[in-house]
């Protein structure tokens, strides 16, 4: 009996070590991006307000850049608006048509780009009607990510530079579609895969979003950097330089697709 107690005492620590390690490894390997986002949502409860005051201080240093950016954007939107007002009225498809997309703004208070699964946190949450699957765009309208989990005051968003990120992309003008994914290497670059082998792209071509339950269509994702036509008549592969600078996200636009939930439900059936 005494020997048994001695034995248990001797192996208690290595046993505890094994138990903790196995539990941690199981948790880690079975975790998804949603689990990780949930954890960040919990830690935001503690660090969120501190991070947001830090980023408020940082704001003063970026005011000039921010102003330039806003002016450029106003010019762009003004020219779009003038095009619209010149159009003859009465071309609407339905008289009851409402805007299918709602826009909002938020500030990024915590960001990461050097991990394999990058997320960023914004200062708007459930009480501001933010919900999962809203698209996040830069002020210029470039794709940055989408909301994955919300708490009362904050929301965690999956960055385009996340190995679990995927969305539809197509060539602006030629409409050949493929899927956008990040390979975990450089946060300036993504790949566009599964495009048909006969599709033709040239470096510099613009890649934009396709309609999905998360993203509004025709938003710039990036520009073709390298086009490798398929050798086996299967699918071609594109390297795309992201338009958004993910390491310098500050103000962002939130986009809610009013019919998104309906689309997601319908698509999930098949």
């Amino acid at each position: 009996m005494y020997k048994l107690i001695l034995f248990v005492k001797r192996i208690a620590t290595p046993l505890l070590f094994l138990i903790i390690e196995v539990a941690a490894i199981v948790t880690y390997t079975s975790s998804t991006s949603l689990t990780r986002a949930r954890l960040l949502t919990i830690s935001n409860e503690v660090t969120g307000s501190i991070n947001s005051s830090f980023s408020a201080v940082g704001d003063y240093f970026g005011l000039r850049r921010e102003n330039d950016r806003l002016t450029r954007r106003i010019v762009e939107l003004e020219s779009l608006l003038s095009e619209w007002s010149e159009r003859p009225s009465g071309v609407r498809i339905s008289s009851e048509e409402i805007a299918p997309y709602l826009f909002g703004e938020a500030r990024v208070i915590k960001n990461s780009v050097f991990s394999q699964n990058n997320f960023f946190t914004i200062d708007k949450g459930l009480r501001d009607d933010v919900e999962a699957n809203m698209a996040v765009l830069t002020p210029e309208g470039y794709v940055a990510g989408y909301v994955i989990d919300c708490s009362e005051r904050f929301a965690v968003c999956m960055s385009v530079a996340n190995r679990d990120f995927t969305m539809g992309g197509k060539g602006k003008g030629n409409d050949y579609m493929g899927s956008v994914a990040w390979d975990g290497d450089d946060y300036h670059e993504v790949s566009l895969d599964n495009i048909p082998h006969y599709a033709d792209f040239a470096p510099g071509d613009t890649i934009v979003s396709t309609v999905s339950y998360r993203f509004p269509p025709d938003r710039v994702i990036g520009y073709v950097e390298e086009f490798s036509p398929s050798s086996d008549k299967m699918n071609s592969h594109l390297r795309v330089r992201l338009a958004a600078d993910l390491s310098r996200l500050d103000r962002v636009l939130l986009v809610k697709y009013m019919d998104g939930e309906e689309l997601r439900e319908l698509e999930s059936k098949y």
Partner: protein
């Protein structure tokens, strides 16, 4: 355990520094200091292996919630806590017998650097190795080397301050 309150405060400080400062630093993809391991490095010399393991796992789990890594920090930090007695024997040997914290006093600077380096490199190697899962090997190794170097410098500074405050 000796100096419990000091160590509780140190734990909180280290976690906040990592979560609020070092995780937001974004200097470069190659320098990602996991500074918080300094807590395991500086735990009392005479702490039992059991408590060492429990505190290491607790620190790792806290950082997992803060960084949203779901287990990765716990894996690395628990392993470092388990390896600490070995690293201490290899680097300091009998020098530490009469010390309370593993820095200063009879412990030479060289042996502390060796001891801290072993723990820090093991920690970052496990963390970044598992995170990339064998992809981009050379990039990951460069990341381990550079991040460890920065963490080591920060650890030396913290150890000196901690020694002055706690004695």
């Amino acid at each position: 355990m000796q100096r419990t309150i000091e160590y509780i405060l140190f734990f909180v400080l280290v976690v906040l520094l990592q979560a609020l400062f070092f995780d937001n630093l974004m200097l470069s993809g190659l320098v990602v200091p996991l500074y918080y391991i300094v807590f395991v490095v500086l735990l009392p010399v005479k702490i039992g292996r059991f408590w060492l393991l429990v505190l290491g796992a607790l620190l790792g789990a806290t950082m997992d919630v803060a960084m949203g890594t779901a287990g990765l920090n716990t894996i690395a930090t628990t392993a470092v806590a388990y390896l600490r007695p070995v690293a201490m024997n290899l680097s300091m040997g009998k020098d530490v017998a009469h010390e309370i914290i593993p820095y200063g006093g009879a412990i030479t600077r060289a042996s502390f650097v060796l001891y801290a380096t072993m723990l820090i490199v093991a920690h970052e190697l496990i963390f970044f190795g598992l995170e990339s899962l064998g992809a981009h090997v050379f990039y990951t190794l460069a990341k381990v080397v550079l991040s460890s170097a920065v963490t080591l410098v920060l650890t030396l500074l913290s150890a000196r301050l901690f020694r002055q405050m706690v004695g």
